[in-house]
Subunit: 319 residues, 2 copies
Amino acid sequence: MAVYTQIGSEDVASLLSLYDVGELVALKGIAEGVENSNYFIETTGGRYFLTIYESRVNPDDLPFYHSLLDHLYKAGCKVPRFINDRQGQWLQTLSGKPACLIEFLSGVSATVPTPQQAHACGGELAKLHLAVRDFGLERHNDFGVLHWRTLIAQCTEKGLDSIQTGLAKRVTDESIYLVEHWPRHLPTSIIHADLFPDNVLLLGEEVSGLIDFYFACSDVTSYDLAISHAAWSFSADGTNYMPQIGTAFIAGYKQISTLNHVGNIDFQTLARGACLRFLLTRCFDWINTPPDALVVRKDPLAYLRRLDFYCSNPDILGG
Amino acid sequence: MAVYTQIGSEDVASLLSLYDVGELVALKGIAEGVENSNYFIETTGGRYFLTIYESRVNPDDLPFYHSLLDHLYKAGCKVPRFINDRQGQWLQTLSGKPACLIEFLSGVSATVPTPQQAHACGGELAKLHLAVRDFGLERHNDFGVLHWRTLIAQCTEKGLDSIQTGLAKRVTDESIYLVEHWPRHLPTSIIHADLFPDNVLLLGEEVSGLIDFYFACSDVTSYDLAISHAAWSFSADGTNYMPQIGTAFIAGYKQISTLNHVGNIDFQTLARGACLRFLLTRCFDWINTPPDALVVRKDPLAYLRRLDFYCSNPDILGG
């Protein structure tokens, strides 16, 4: 939630002069995205986002994101496109940082999704998985199952148990279990890996856009469904499972794709993995963010509660 | 630069259902304004800002701001209007805070204004001053000449000289001079009191909007021109006076209004006052903002340098 790089309208107007997008008529810094600086831009020709990539995004990964969104768009997925300038360039430099002009998509994110919205989003995730079958590129998952022990060590030395007594042992035991039981036999592909409700744009009950692909990477395809299931199907604090949302999300997915034949046991493992991944990164951010910083620190324990739920419920997918 | 109050799209959609503005299609938190939370809203009918008033704005002042913008709009000034709901209400409550739907104006702020832009803005400020002649309401200037000693005391006890050695004595001496020489004989009116370049929207060389009236108050009318002169006519760090900008701003003003017959000596005093006011509030914010907060701390000394300039240049207005 921040604009880290301040840019002037003159610099933006100068950048836009490289494109066939008309003249600048509005420029507003957007208070979302913790990885990048984002500006809403209106021109005489349309509306766009200008994203300036900050240090948390590896510039070497940008061609991957560009190719992925280009591939998904051409396959009919509802994703924003990178805009090319007159020379066919999509990557620019602004204030010494990589910057891209990106399509603006209408739609708003649901804070409390309806079952219809969850069903629609499950379907769009399945379409994404079908679309990437002939996408040739790979990207390592820096937050994947083999990285959790390192993350736990980094958190533990800074006081993981200060968040909750016994947390260090709990996540260590869980990570050992998951490394052992991770369903490596299941099909892998590029996954979104962060399809929370705030990364889905909706117009009513319909999906108008899937956004924020900066965690997209190669992993077990069904892990993506497990991540979304954990993100969508609970009250924000993780205390209440909302079966009608989870069921609708999976039904929406199944209606489009065969779900890669994942069974209950593997899905439980993947969902436990999803919970541990977000529990750990939230713990890391919690420990490393000053309490008075103007950034909302997301409660890590909301994902410990989800983990508890999946540990006690091995049959989420149903028969 | 922040969105302090997080709201969900469902709450915004529910609020918009009170208005004849169509359905919500986009909602983005805007990273500007330190007083309020601002959201950009697009509906099927148009574009708007949703402003949620945080603790720094006194809710009792909101009817004043509403009346002022209504008055200015009807007088032909380029200001955003508060939007009424179907019951004729412009003031709502969201997350327990006052909130208003406000017209979205096109235009971008200049970081490095041109003389033509300064001329156009001077003219719009003069139109504003002509328009408020028959505006009946008053609002005390909480940052006016009689408040500077208090502000100095608050800053001094927290270490004003830590910003620059001798600063406490310098601002104390200056405030004594200004209280003594303040041109109380000049006409007073409602003034904008914060018409910096970032509060002026431009389309090319034309002004499309004057915004952010939350410091508007009753004071010497020409003080408003002095504030803008100090804000527009220098490099950001205050080291370079740009006479072509200052001259153009004043010429633009004079073309519309008689400048309230302010002379060189009084204008110098008013400009010194403008510099002291922003020097002091920036010192206050500097001292009270942690260096690692995600808020840009504005350099107070940029206004000490402007103060030095006006002290040595008593004939800014020219013959």
